[in-house]
Symmetry: C4
Subunit: 288 residues, 4 copies
C-alpha cells in the first residue's frame, strides 16, 4: 500500500497542497506562510506578561484556531498524498506534526504541572517557524553551496573551538577567578564571544597582560572571518562560472565570417546571414 | 499638458538644476549637497539641549533660511521641468517636498501640541539627508549588484529570522524571565543582537547551558556572514568579467603574424605593421 | 641509530598508531580524538568550584586514567617509530609529551606551592586540545591558502596595529584619564576592541568629540575587514581555477568533428565515435 | 640647487639610509624599525601613572636618547639626499620631523602650561609609529587595490552615513531622551555603533518598538558588510587574473605537435623537442 492510486479529487487536492506550479497551489502556499507567521507572532506576544493579562483570552482562541487549521491541513496532506508512510516519516511530515502536537498535549497537562514543562510546550509550538524553511525552495542554491563546502566549514569550526579553548585557558590563568573568569567553561565562553567579535562585555579582561592577549585574540578572530567567507565565495563564484561555461559550450563560430554566436537557438549568422553549424559541435574558439 | 514646450529660460534653468553635464549644473549640485549637509547638521545640533538653550535663536533662523532655499529650489524645479506632474509624483519630487513641509507645518502647530508630534516634525526634516541619495549617481553600480542578488538576499534574511526565532526561544526556555530573557520578543531581539555579532551585552546568558547554546549561535552567525558576502562578491566578480569579455570580443589576431591586438581602435599590427581585420569578426582565438 | 630496522610487530603497531589508511588506524585515530575531547571536558568541569566539590575525586581518577592512556600511547609511539629522535623532537612529539607531563609534575609539587603554579599546571594539561590539530589532516588546504597569503596578512596586521595606536592616542587626548581612557595601553586596547568590531563596552567614549572620532574608527574597521577577506578569497578562487585549468589542459578536440572531450581517460569521441588524439598534446582550443 | 652633485660619501650614505637593496641598507631599515617600536612602547608605558612614578627618570632618558637618534638620522637624510627641498617637503620628511619636534618643544614649555598641551605634545611623539608605514613597501599592492576601489568605497561610506542618520533619528523619536538617546548626535553615534556591529552597549534600546527597529538596522548592517568585501575581493581577484593573463600571453604552441609551452624562457618543445616559435607572437590558443 506504499504507493496508492489517487482518486481525481485527491489528485486535484495534491496539486493545490503540495504543488507550486498551479495558481491555486501558489495561493495556498502564500496563505499558509501568512498563517504560520501570524501564529508565530501570537505565540511571541502571548509570552509578554502585560499583553497576556489583557488579551490572554484572544490569544488562547487564536492559538486554537491556528492549531485547528494546521490540523486540517495535516490530515488533508495525509489524505491526498500518494505515499502516506513516506510523507508522515519525512522531515516535512514530522515538522507538520510538531506544529500541532504541543497544543493538544497542553489539554492533558494537569494544573499542577511544573512551570518549565508548560513553558516548553508553549515554546515547542514556535518551531512552526521551521515550516517556512520547507516552503522556501529558493534556499536550495545556498544550501547546495554550503553542503559542498561542508567539510571545510567543519574543519573551520574545529579550529575555532581549539583557538577558543586555548585563548580561554590563557585568560583563565592570567585574569583568574577574581576578575570574572571564574572557571574554564566561562573563559571559553568569553573567548568565543571575543573571537566571533560579538563582544557582550559581561566578562572582560582588566589586567594589562589579559588585555594584550585578548587584543591578539580579537585580531586573530577578525582576520579568521575571512576563511569561511573565502570558502563560500570561491564556491559560489565557481558555481556561476560553471553555469556560464555550459552556455559557452553551445556557442559557435560562423563558417563563413567567423563571428561568434553565443545564442544556442540561432540558425543564421547575425553578421553575414549564412547558416550556422549545429550547436555543441563547434566550440567557441574553433574554426570548422 | 503632460509634456509642455519649455521657454529658453526654462530650458537653461532645467540644465542647471536637473543636469550634471554643464559646469553650472555641477556647481549647483555641489552647492546643494553642501546646503543639505549644513541643514542636517543644524537639526542635529538643535537637538542637543545645552546648545539649544544658547544658540536656539540662531538655529531657528538658519532652519528658516534653509527651508526658504529648499522652497525656492522646489518651486524652480516645478517651473522649469518639461513634465510637472511626473516630477511632483516622482520619488525625487516627494522627497523634495518632505524636505520643506515639516517646517511649514510647525507654524500651524498649537502651543499645546504633544511633545511627540513636535519631535516628530523636527525629525522628519532630517530626512532631507535622503536627497543626498538622489544626487549620488555613482551608487547605481552597487544598487544594481544588490538588486540582481535581491532574491538570494531575501532568502538569506528569512533564514536569519528563522534562526533568530529558534535561538531566541531556546534561550527563553533555558534562561527564563529571571535572567533578562523576559519574553520571546526580547529573546529574539537578543538572538539578532548575538547572531549579527553586534553583542550589546544588555541581555546576556548567565547559566552554563545558556552560554553553551549562545556560543553555538555566535559561531553560526559568525560563519553565516560569509553567505551575503559570497553572494555579492560572486555578483561583482561576474559583472567585472562580463565587462572584460565584451572588450575581449573586440580583440583580433593579425592575419600575417597572429599577434593579438586587444585595442579595438587599432588599424595596423603593432608587431609586423600589416593591416588588421575589422574588429568583431575575428575573435581573439581565431586565425582567419 | 637514527633510522632503525623495525620488527614486524613494530611495523604493525606503527601502521595502526601513525597511519590512517588501514581500518585499524582509522579507529585508533577516532578513539584518540574521543579520549582527547573527554579529557579536555574533564579538565574544564574540574575548574568549576561547585562541581569540583562534589565530583573532585571522580575527576581526579579520570584525569589519572587519561594521563596513563596518553603515557602508554606516547611510549608506544616512541617504541614503534622507525626514527625515535625525529619523533621526540618533532612538534607532534613535544605536544604529546606536554599532554602528560603536567599531571606527573603535580605529584612533586609541595603542598605549599603558590596557587598560580597549581593553576598553571592544571591549565597546561588542556593544551592536549592541540593534539586534535595534528590529527586534522583536512586543515592543510586552508593552512596552505593562509601561508601563501602570509606576507599580505602580516602587512594587514601591521597596518591594523598602526591604526589602533593612532586611534587609541586620539581618544586618550580627547577623553583623558577621567573617562576610562586611563593610559595609552588602555586606549590602544579600546581601539583594537573597536576596530575589530568586538565592542565590549567596558571603555567607551562619552564626549561628543570622542564619539565622533570613535565612529570614524568603527567605519574604518568595518570597511577594513574587507581586506583579509579579499586576500583569502582571491587566493582560494585562484587555487580552484588552477585545479580546473590543469584538468582543462588535458581536454582535447575530436580530429573528425571538433567536439571537445574534457575526460582525459576517453579514447573515442562521444559525438562521432572516431579515435581521439592523446591527451596533453592537443589543448582544448586547438584543431590539430 | 634643487638637484646637487653628491660626494662619494654622501652617495654611500644615501644608499644605506634611503636604499633597501644593499645588505647595509636592509640592516639600517631593520634597526630603524626596532628603534621606532621601542620608542613607541616607551611612550605608552610612560603614560601609565604607576610606572611613571617608578621609572619616570629612565623613560625620560630613553626618550631623549631616541629623540637624539632620530635627530641624527633626520639630519643625515637631509645631508645625503640629492634633492634636499624635495625630501624636507615630502610626506616622509614631514613625518620624520614630527617624530622629533614635540620633544624639543617640551623644553620651551613653561611649568605652568595647561595639562592638555603637555599631554598633546606627549602624544604627538607617538605618531612616530607612522614612520613604520613609510618603511612598509609591501603595503603598496593593498593600497593600490583600495585606491582603484576608492570611488566605490566613498559611495559606500556616504550610504552608511545616510543609513546611520535615518536609523539614529528613528530611535531618537521612538526611545526619546529618557532612554539614553539624549540628542540626535548621540543617536547617530548609537546607529554607527550598531550598524558596524561594534555594539558597545552604552546606549541600547529598551522599548519593544525601538528593539524591533534596531534589529532591522543590525540585519541591514550585517548584510551591508558584504559590499566593501565584494568590492575589494573583485578588485584583488581581477588583479591576480590580469597578472596571470600577462604570463599566458607569452605561452606558445609547438609548431610540430601543438603542445602548450607556458614558460616564456623555453627554447625547445618539452614533448617533441622541436624548436619553439618566439614568445609573444603566437598566443596560447593559436596554431601558427
Amino acid at each position: 500500500m506504499s504507493h496508492r492510486e489517487q482518486t481525481p479529487l485527491q489528485l486535484k487536492c495534491y496539486e493545490v497542497i503540495f504543488g507550486t506550479e498551479t495558481p491555486a497551489g501558489k495561493w495556498f502556499d502564500l496563505a499558509l506562510i501568512a498563517i504560520i507567521i501570524a501564529s508565530v507572532i501570537v505565540i511571541m506576544l502571548d509570552s509578554i506578561v502585560s499583553l497576556d493579562a489583557s488579551y490572554g483570552d484572544l490569544f488562547f482562541r487564536l492559538e486554537w484556531l491556528f492549531t485547528l487549521l494546521f490540523t486540517v491541513e495535516y490530515l488533508a496532506r495525509i489524505w491526498c498524498t500518494p505515499n502516506r508512510r513516506a510523507y508522515v516519516l519525512s522531515l516535512y511530515g514530522v515538522v507538520d506534526l510538531l506544529a500541532v502536537l504541543p497544543t493538544y498535549l497542553s489539554i492533558f497537562l494537569p494544573q499542577t504541572a511544573p512551570l518549565l514543562i508548560i513553558r516548553l510546550l508553549r515554546i515547542l509550538r514556535i518551531f512552526r517557524v521551521l515550516r517556512l524553511l520547507t516552503l522556501l525552495n529558493e534556499a536550495n542554491d545556498l544550501a547546495a553551496a554550503l553542503q559542498r563546502s561542508g567539510r571545510k566549514i567543519f574543519v573551520f569550526f574545529t579550529v575555532m573551538m581549539i583557538l577558543a579553548t586555548i585563548f580561554g585557558c590563557l585568560l583563565y590563568v592570567i585574569e583568574g577567578p577574581g576578575n570574572g573568569f571564574d572557571d574554564i567553561p566561562t573563559s571559553v565562553y568569553w573567548a568565543i564571544v571575543t573571537i566571533t567579535t560579538v563582544g557582550y562585555g559581561d566578562v572582560t579582561p582588566v589586567t594589562t597582560a589579559g588585555r594584550a592577549v585578548s587584543a591578539a585574540g580579537m585580531l586573530v578572530g577578525y582576520a579568521i572571518i575571512a576563511v569561511p567567507t573565502g570558502i563560500i565565495t570561491a564556491e559560489l563564484t565557481m558555481a556561476q562560472q560553471i553555469k556560464k561555461q555550459r552556455l559557452a559550450m553551445l556557442a559557435r563560430n560562423c563558417t563563413n565570417c567567423s563571428t561568434v554566436e553565443p545564442d544556442p537557438d540561432a540558425h543564421y549568422c547575425r553578421a553575414c546571414g549564412s547558416q550556422l553549424p549545429r550547436p555543441g559541435h563547434a566550440p567557441e574558439t574553433e574554426k570548422s
